[in-house]
């Protein structure tokens, strides 16, 4: 029983990561994919923070002072994973913001944010160009549609 509880956190981290991965693969909606990527990241955060915990430990902030010397009430959790994850969370929101900006630009040029529809539109454009005897070039397509 204690053995199961001892690695329970690591199981949940795997489950969260896999839920995120499933979302990224299975959902064609780009916003849903961005959210799923966030879930994947929180799974990894959970993994790091779980490793930092020590039995009977407390938050790593020095507290008690007696006669000018430090007296410790117990062991402290390892602060290093906290530091790593603290910065990773802020970076993850930056990643989300850039992803959302790209999604807005995609919506502007394609009119949809479903990945499969975008792919079909690209494919159809290529087909038309191929039939017209031109070399297919995806970058020019998007540009032309944007100005149209």
């Amino acid at each position: 029983m204690t053995d199961v509880l001892g690695i329970y956190n690591y199981w949940i981290y795997v489950v969260l990561m896999m839920i995120g991965l499933y979302g990224v693969i299975a959902k064609p909606n780009l916003i849903k994919q961005a959210i799923a990527l966030g879930l994947f990241q929180t799974g990894i955060f959970l993994y790091y923070i779980s490793m930092a915990v020590i039995d009977g430990g407390t938050a790593p902030i020095w507290t008690t002072i007696e006669d000018g010397a430090q007296k410790f009430q117990g062991p402290y959790d390892n602060p290093l994973p906290h530091v790593l994850i603290l910065t990773a969370i802020v970076v993850s929101v930056s990643v989300l913001a850039v992803a959302l900006a790209l999604i807005i630009n995609i919506k502007r040029s394609y009119g949809t944010i479903e990945a499969d529809e975008i792919e079909r539109m690209d494919h159809e454009d290529r087909l038309i160009e191929y039939r017209a005897g031109q070399a297919p070039d995806a970058a020019d397509d998007a540009e032309a549609r944007h100005h149209a």
Binding site: T2, D3, L5, I7, Y8, N9, Y10, I12, V14, V15, L16, M17, M18, I19, L21, G23, I25, A26, P28, I31, I35, G38, L39, T42, L46, S50, M51, A52, I54, D55, G57, A59, P60, I61, W62, T63, Q70, F72, P75, D77, P79, P81, H82, V83, L84, L86, T87, I89, V90, V91, S94, V95, A97, V98, L100, A101, L102, I103, I104, N105
Partner: protein, 401 residues
């Protein structure tokens, strides 16, 4: 089974259920709101695991900013997901099940949750916890490892790490500062006696934690991993710049002068007017208080940004642009990064290493550390708050043409 494990078990079950709901619900607004719930649950999980700074960040970033960003995007993209032909994607499910099974097989080799003998609690931890990074002398008694464990054995695990490289009594190099040689910033002894245990330090009043910063998370963030944090700040700065490049329209088109739809709601207006000063004050407190308690530049910066975003939501963005014009916002974004690297450069000029804060006050290095970390935290705070605000502005600016 301790209370930590029990609460952890229940909270993580809730978190998993929320995660499934986020992925499976078709309405994207509902999905965004569930993301907020998920982040708040996660913040509780972090608090339960004594990771206060991370909980703080998660609540401010996940519960606040990212939900606002998602909703801001949904307004001009789509509210609903396209209905799928098949509810369950068989191949993806098989792939994730396989991958998950492999990872779970790997977890059987992990040290058990909270095990004091896990390597992570020993390797380099004496140096880290004693905060002797700049001095490299392991001060005795800061945190004793559990019985039966020899920290030296763990340190020798990596032959490249020297255990005690320099003579801690030799502090002459600290007194030779470039500026001091030219008569600028001459070190003064403010009646401090030498610290008996740490020759490089001077005795401080008892509330001074022997010149060390009490919140070890902040101290690791700004000193031990100072370079890392500096470039994380740069990453955030880059995100702000990318948002401007991707979405900002030319100035000549002017900013969209939309009326503020919520400004005629008396309750919202009055309550937000009362709340905003306190949110700002709290944000500044969190940044300034970062070395003493949970908090720091990242968390405080996000809280400050939240105050501005609330103002923009209630009174409209034109009002925000009058308070904080976009050019000023852009300038401040860069200023934060400059402040961080400038502090590092100042330490270099004073005769120390890059980001060696002790050099800011060579006679009492503890005060120098506190000063340097506060400066750096303010740099991070300014950049983070202004980038979050820029991101919000750019996403909200983008209206359907």
């Amino acid at each position: 089974m301790t209370a930590v494990v029990l609460i952890d078990t229940l909270l993580l079950l809730l978190v998993t259920v929320t995660a499934v709901a986020i992925i499976e619900v078709r309405n994207l607004y509902a999905s965004a709101m569930l993301t907020s719930v998920y982040s708040l649950l996660m913040a509780l999980v972090w608090v339960n695991m004594h990771s206060m700074d991370v909980a703080f960040t998660e609540a401010a970033v996940g519960g606040g900013i990212s939900t606002i960003l998602l909703i801001g995007t949904l307004v001009h993209t789509a509210r609903e997901e396209k209905p799928l032909k098949r509810r369950v994607h068989g191949k993806a499910l098989a792939l994730t099940a396989l991958c998950g099974a492999a990872l779970i097989y790997g977890t059987f080799d992990m040290p058990r949750f909270g095990d004091p003998k896990a390597p992570i609690h020993h390797f380099r931890v004496p140096e880290m916890m004693a905060q002797t990074v700049g001095f490299a002398n392991s001060t005795a008694g800061k945190q004793a490892p559990p019985a039966g464990f020899d920290p030296l054995e763990y340190r020798s695990f990596n032959g490249a790490v020297p255990s005690v490289p320099v003579d801690p009594a030799d502090t002459a190099w600290r007194e030779t500062s470039v500026l001091a040689q030219h008569g600028i910033m001459l070190p003064k002894v403010n009646g401090h006696a030498l610290h008996p245990a740490e020759p490089g330090h001077h005795l401080h009043p008892p509330d001074d934690f022997n010149g060390h910063v009490p919140n070890s998370v902040t101290s690791l963030l700004a000193a031990y991993r100072g370079y890392d944090t500096m470039f994380e700040t740069t990453v955030i700065f880059t995100a702000g710049v990318s948002l401007i490049l991707l979405l900002r329209r030319p100035r000549r088109e002017g900013y969209l002068q939309r009326s503020a739809p919520l400004a005629d709601q008396a309750i919202l207006r009055v309550v937000s007017k009362m709340a905003i000063p306190f949110i700002l004050l709290f944000g500044l407190y969190v940044i300034t208080h970062g070395e003493l308690g949970p908090g720091g530049g990242f968390q405080g910066g996000v809280v400050v940004a939240c105050a501005f975003i609330l103002f923009a939501l209630i009174f409209g963005r034109p009002a925000l642009y009058r308070v904080l014009p976009p050019p000023v916002c852009d300038l401040l974004t860069g200023l934060g990064v400059l402040m961080y690297s400038g502090t590092g450069l100042a330490c270099l000029l004073l005769g120390g290493n890059f980001l060696d804060y002790a050099m800011l006050d060579p006679i009492s290095p503890g005060d120098g550390e506190a000063l340097g970390m506060t400066l750096v935290e303010y740099g991070v705070g300014i950049t983070v708050s202004m980038v979050m605000l820029t991101i919000f502005n750019q996403l909200a600016e983008e209206r359907s043409k």
